[in-house]
Structures are given as C-alpha cells and as structure tokens.
C-alpha cells in the first residue's frame, strides 16, 4: 500500500534530520542544522500526506476510519505529532540545538513502527465512536509535548552539571543556558498537561458512553493517571524551593518514561481494554 511507502520515506527523513542535528552540534555548524530543519519540514509534509493517504485508502477499502486505531498507526501518528510540535518549538525559540535531542525520539518511534503490522484493519465495535477522534488526538498531542520536554530536560541536566562546575566545553557548552532550558521544559509541559487532561477526560466520557463507567482502574487508565500525577508534581515542584531546577527536570524525564509505559508498556506487558498492542 502506498501510504506505507510514504511512511517508510518519512522514517528515512526523520533519521536524516536526527543525523543532521547531531552532526551540526559536533561540527558546530549552523548550516547543517538549517538543513536539519528543512528535512523536518519535508518529513512533516511526507508524513502528513501518508496519514491522509492512509485515511483515504481505508475508505477505498470500504472501512473508512481515522488512521489512529492500532499500534502501527498510533506510532506513526506519535512521530508525526512529535515532529510538528518540535518544529513549533524550534520556530518559537529560534534555537536548533533541541533537534538533536528530540528528533531521535521521532526516528526511533518510526523504526519501531516498521516492525509492526501495517495493514489497514476494520474497526471492532468498541472503537466505532466519534469519541475516538477527540480522545486519541488530544492524548497524542500531550505525549508529543512530553517527548519534547524530556529531550530538553536531558539537555538541562547536562548543562546544569557544567554550569555548576563553571565550565563550558564540548557539545554541551553550545547548548542554551540553564534558565532557557528550564523555561522550555516548563513551557512544553504546560502545553502537554491540558492536552493530556483533555485526553483522559474524553477517554472517561467515551468509557462512560460505551460501558457505563467513566473510571474503572484498568491498567491503561491507571497509567494515564500516573502520568498526570507526575506532571502535576512537576508543576508544583517548579514553584517550591529546593524542588525546581534539577528535580523538576528529573520529574519531566520520569513523566515521559511513565508516558511511554502508559502508551506502549501497558499494551505490550499488561492486559486491559486498550488491546491494540496485543494482537
């Protein structure tokens, strides 16, 4: 199917972009980073086209539905969202160094997707609902924001160590200052948090409409709550003496690990209602 070919092309572009951003850091060459940005833009166009094409192809098959309903589709959608959110941040903050820490997340996600079944399957009855769209899209924008935040938090921890030792050298020396990084970790989370909250709420509303229970402590629900709690802790840590800075950055990374567990781990390791990873 042609959508898969486009997704494979996007995977290559994500890889090239990651390489360019990393290369730009090592070579200390802004021109390479600019090439990275344009590769990201191209990847955005290709992956958006791929998603649209996949949506269209599902209609051609007579089972038309939004392409976010199994593991393969959710992975490519996640990578798509990370890439777009990253471009948004890069433009807003005018620094290309973040790319080296964020784009590899999108690239590895796509590589993982390639190893999964990419066929278009019809929707099982439980997924036939308009809530699907609102639920999945809000959740994934949240996840993408958290991915970017965690990438920046890693940069923060590296930079903070150098600033504490009052040295500035190597690749880390080129990173933006701690204050900027700390601010960006926070700014990406305040985008992600309302989206995650909305994602959990739309999920609850959907569950209530499908089963008559808005919360049943199934593993997926519980893990989404865990993610929410970690970021809630982060938001409070930032305004508390002794907790901002390093501890807040660690909470951001822990939050993203919890997100990965919620998104993939629950399906691959635990059992529950969100069965797309089981098959």
């Amino acid at each position: 199917m042609s959508n898969v070919i486009l997704f494979n092309l996007a995977t290559v572009l994500f890889g090239v972009a990651s390489g360019l951003y990393l290369g730009a850091l090592y070579a200390k060459n802004e021109k390479i980073a600019v090439a990275g940005t344009w590769t990201c833009v191209l990847a955005a166009v290709v992956s958006t086209a791929a998603l649209g094409l996949r949506w269209y192809e599902s209609y051609q098959m007579g089972i038309g539905r939004i392409p976010v309903t199994n593991l393969y589709e959710s992975l490519v959608f996640f990578a798509w969202a990370v890439n777009l959110f990253y471009l948004f941040v890069e433009r807003k903050y005018g620094s290309r160094t973040f790319g080296a820490f964020v784009m590899p997340i999108a690239f590895l996600t796509m590589v993982f997707a390639v190893y999964n079944d990419s066929s278009i399957q019809p929707l099982v009855p439980a997924l036939q609902s308009y809530w699907l769209h609102a639920h999945v899209i809000t959740c994934f924008i949240g996840y993408a924001a958290f991915a970017v935040s965690a990438g920046v938090a890693v940069m923060y921890l590296l930079k903070a160590r150098q600033e504490a030792a009052k040295v500035s050298m190597g690749v880390v020396g080129l990173l933006p200052g701690c204050k900027t990084l700390d601010d960006l970790v926070y700014r990406t989370i305040i985008w992600g948090f309302p989206f995650l909250t909305t994602g959990i709420i739309t999920g609850a509303a959907w569950a209530n409409y499908a089963w008559g229970t808005y919360w049943s402590w199934d593993p997926k629900e519980t893990w989404s709550l865990i993610v929410w709690l970690v970021y809630a802790a982060f938001l409070h840590a930032r305004i508390t003496r002794g907790w901002h800075g390093k501890r807040a950055a660690i909470l951001s990374i822990v939050g993203f690990l919890a997100t990965v567990m919620c998104y993939l781990g629950v399906n691959l390791v635990l059992s529950g209602l969100h069965s797309y990873g089981g098959g």
Binding site: P122, P125, Q128, G212, W215, I226, A232, H236
Partner: protein, 453 residues
C-alpha cells in the same frame, strides 16, 4: 530556623503541614508510585487465580494489605483524602490573600514597589502635571487597559491591569478536583451498576448489582426482542445489535436497537451492549409438505427431541453437520412410524427437494439451525456523572487560565520634579511568561512616550 519552627504552637504546625506545597508534591508522587502496584497485580480476580500465581505467604501478605483490590482499599482512600485535605487547606490558606490583592490592588507606585518590578523606565517632561496625566492616561488606555487615577501628596499614580483571571486558574483547577470527587461519591451512594443477560423474547425488571447479592428494581422492564451479530467479510465482528423495548405497565413505551457505543436510556438508567451468547441449545427448522405440495407447516426440533406429526409418526433430529460430504449444512433425522422400523436419513439445507426421492407421504426440508441468543447488558445509574463532567470542564478551564493567562499590571507615576519638570516613572509586572510580556511592555512604553509628542 529550626528553633523557630519548634516554638510554633502544635495547631499551627499541623496547619503548616497541611498547607505546604511540599506535602502536595510528596502526596502526588506517593499516589503515582503506589498506583503502579495495581497495574502489575491483576485486580479483583477470584482467589483461586491468585493461588496459582503466588505462594501462600505472598498471597497472605498481599491480601492483608488489600493489594488485590487496592484502589478501593482504606489506605488508598486515605491517601486520596490526604490529597484532598492538602488541596483544600492550601486553598483556604492562599485564596483569601489572593482575593485581597486582587480586590485592593496597589494602585500607587511607591519606591518599595518600584524596586521589585522588573520592567521600568523613567523620564522628565516640561509642562503641567495635569496635562501629562490626561495624555498618559489616554495612552495607557489605548495601548493596554483603562487606568485608575490616584492622587497623593502632589503626585499622580496611574494603575491598569489585565488578565486578573490568571490568578484564579489554580483555584478553579483545585476546586474542580474536589467537584469530581463529590460527583464520584454521589454516584457511588445514589447510583448502581449491574449486569444482566436477557434471552431473546424475554424481559427483566430487576438486575443483579455488581459486587453484591442485591437485586435492583428498575421500575420498568426491558425486553430483548432480538440480538444480531454482523461481521465484516473477513469474519471480524462489525456490530453487536440488541433490539430492546422498554415496557411500563404492560405497554411498550420506548424501543431502540442498541450497539456498542450507542446505549439506551430510560428514567436515568442506561443499558449498554456488553456481551452476548447462545441461550439454550440450537433448534433445527424443518418444513413439512405433503407429496402433492400442500404445505403442512414448519417444525422446530430441539436436539434429540421427538416431535409427533398427526397421522404419520414422529420426527427426531439426531445430528447436524456444517458441511456434510461437501454439500453444505445437513441435518440427520430419524422417522418413527407406528409398527414400522425407524428410518434415518440426512436433509440438506441447500437442496430442499431432495427428500422427494424417498417417496414417502410427507416431504421434509431442512431450513437451517437457529439458536436463541441472549444479550448481555451493563446497566448503570449514576446521578453523580454530570457533577463529574462539570468538574472536568472546570479543570480544563482552570488549567488554561492558570497556564495561558498572565496577570499584567502597569503603573505610571507623575510627580513634580525639583527642576520644575514633571518626573515620570512607568513600571510593569507580569505574573507569568515574562518573555512574552517584554515585547508588550516595549509597546506600552512606546505608546505612552508617543503621547507626549
């Protein structure tokens, strides 16, 4: 510092404990980490299943600390109570202070306030103080917000603010959590959840409540007229459909075919498509006609049940094959006539006339197996659910207010200078996102200065 803390009266120490943000962080982290346990240990399984997985001592230990139903255990509920108390105390402590600041803003820019503001600029102008006051008030109005004018000791202070709602965001969010908990409690106390199987053609007026032996009276009855299962060409399930009727006082008052994600609601009680199955054994449909073609009717044969045919004998279905000898579904029947040896033969669904070859007085044709189905419905009444949705809506609104609004304040002070000119100070502050406010401040500054040209 430590000594000072020790000398506080006990009540104050308790209060300080419950109003601290550190407690909030720790409670959030403890809630998050303990919640993991219930996703690793499968919840609410029968004891036999746990015994298969765990050694006796491990089972006893996990059972003792309620880890098999941890989200409803006392200790977990206590954690949630601590969380709520902390949240409420923080609000009680901080909200009145915030309200005071919002209600009685510092409208005068004195020296002390000026020092704390990160955005400020000053200049001098020739002319009358009252003229400049009018010009600058107009400029602040057009570039930011309408200022309040206060005069004190010969100086004039202008004060304008925007985005005050930002200060309320955190309280709206905290309140929303309490509202959601209230909704959950209302639902638990005044609602119920149950599950019921209804065979096709039958009705129920009571449902067993989940997690108990109680039966819940519905106040009406629900009949399942029919259940059907649709599949995609690939064989995957496409839709589970139950045709339901609501019967009140012997009269059908509502009817709806429900599917997953499209429930039926009556008097606040919801019915959700949840499961299905075969109700009792299958029956075989056999159409009987005379040799001359006169129809005699259709029989429904349960497995191995002898059905009498007046003036003929009995007919009994003994076996069924989905694809007998490559000829499709077939039913094996036994005919017993009085005083004659019994005869056994196959009827093919795809060839209804084949039985004529037997040259008997009656011709049988097999119309297929039909099985009576039952539909499995989740039944729920939750009078708290709308309170929960209200809380959810408030939460999103509160978060957006807290994150994306900023309380911005602008002051202008005009005072007579020693050299006869008017001394002007313009200062501003923003409660969040100072980076973005920097640009706005430049704009206001340019606007105000331009008013003097």
């Amino acid at each position: 510092m430590v000594d000072e803390k020790r000398t506080l009266p006990p009540m104050d120490r308790v209060w300080n404990f419950f109003t601290s943000v550190k407690l909030a962080i720790i409670t959030l982290i403890v809630l998050a980490s303990t919640s993991i346990l219930g996703t690793i240990i499968e919840q609410n399984q029968p004891p036999e299943k746990y015994h298969q997985i765990y050694e006796d001592w491990a089972f006893a230990l996990l059972d003792r600390v309620n880890l098999f139903d941890m989200y409803h255990s006392t200790w977990f509920l206590l954690l949630l109570v601590l969380f709520t108390v902390n949240l409420s105390c923080c609000t009680i402590e901080r909200f009145p202070k915030m309200l005071k600041i919002v209600r009685n803003p510092r409208t005068k820019l004195d020296e002390n306030l000026e020092k704390t503001l990160s955005f400020s600029d000053r200049w001098k102008k020739k002319g009358a103080l009252s003229d400049w006051t009018a010009k600058y008030a107009g400029a602040v109005s057009s570039s930011f917000a309408k200022p309040k004018v206060t005069e004190e000791g010969g100086a004039v202070h202008l004060y304008a603010e925007a985005g005050v709602a930002s200060r309320f965001g955190v309280y709206v969010t905290h309140l929303s959590i309490v509202i959601i908990f209230i909704g959950a409690i209302v639902g638990n106390v005044f609602g119920f959840k149950g599950y019921v199987n209804i065979p096709e053609g039958e009705a129920v007026s009571q449902v067993p409540v989940r997690g108990g032996s109680r039966m819940q009276d519905l106040g009406f009855s629900v009949r399942c007229n029919a259940f059907s299962l649709e599949t995609y060409p690939s064989g995957q399930p496409k839709a589970y459909k139950s045709d339901l009727s609501v019967i009140e006082g012997g009269r059908e008052v509502a009817r709806k075919t429900i599917v997953v994600n499209d429930p039926l609601q009556h008097n606040g009680i919801w019915f959700y498509q949840s499961s299905y199955g075969q109700s009792g054994g299958a029956t075989a449909k056999v159409t009987v006609t005379r040799k001359d073609g006169t129809p005699m009717g259709t029989l429904s044969l349960a497995a191995n049940e002898s059905v009498p045919i007046a003036g003929y004998g009995t007919l009994r279905g003994v076996d069924y094959n989905q694809n007998f000898g490559g000829n499709g579904p077939a039913l094996q029947v036994v005919v017993e006539k009085p005083g004659q040896p019994s005869a056994s033969f196959w009827l093919f669904q795809g060839r209804p006339d084949l039985d004529r070859q037997r040259a008997d007085s009656l011709v049988f044709s097999f119309g297929g197996l039909s099985s009576k189905m039952f539909t499995g419905l989740q039944v729920a009444k939750d009078p708290g659910v709308n309170i929960v949705w209200l809380g959810c809506a408030l939460m999103v609104i509160g978060l957006l207010m807290a994150f994306f609004l900023s309380h911005q304040r602008v002051w202008v002070r005009l005072s007579p200078g020693t050299d006869g000119r008017v001394e002007v100070v313009l200062a501003a502050s923003a409660s969040r996102n100072r980076l973005a406010f920097e640009k706005k401040f430049e704009k206001i500054l340019t606007g105000v200065k331009a008013a003097g040209q």
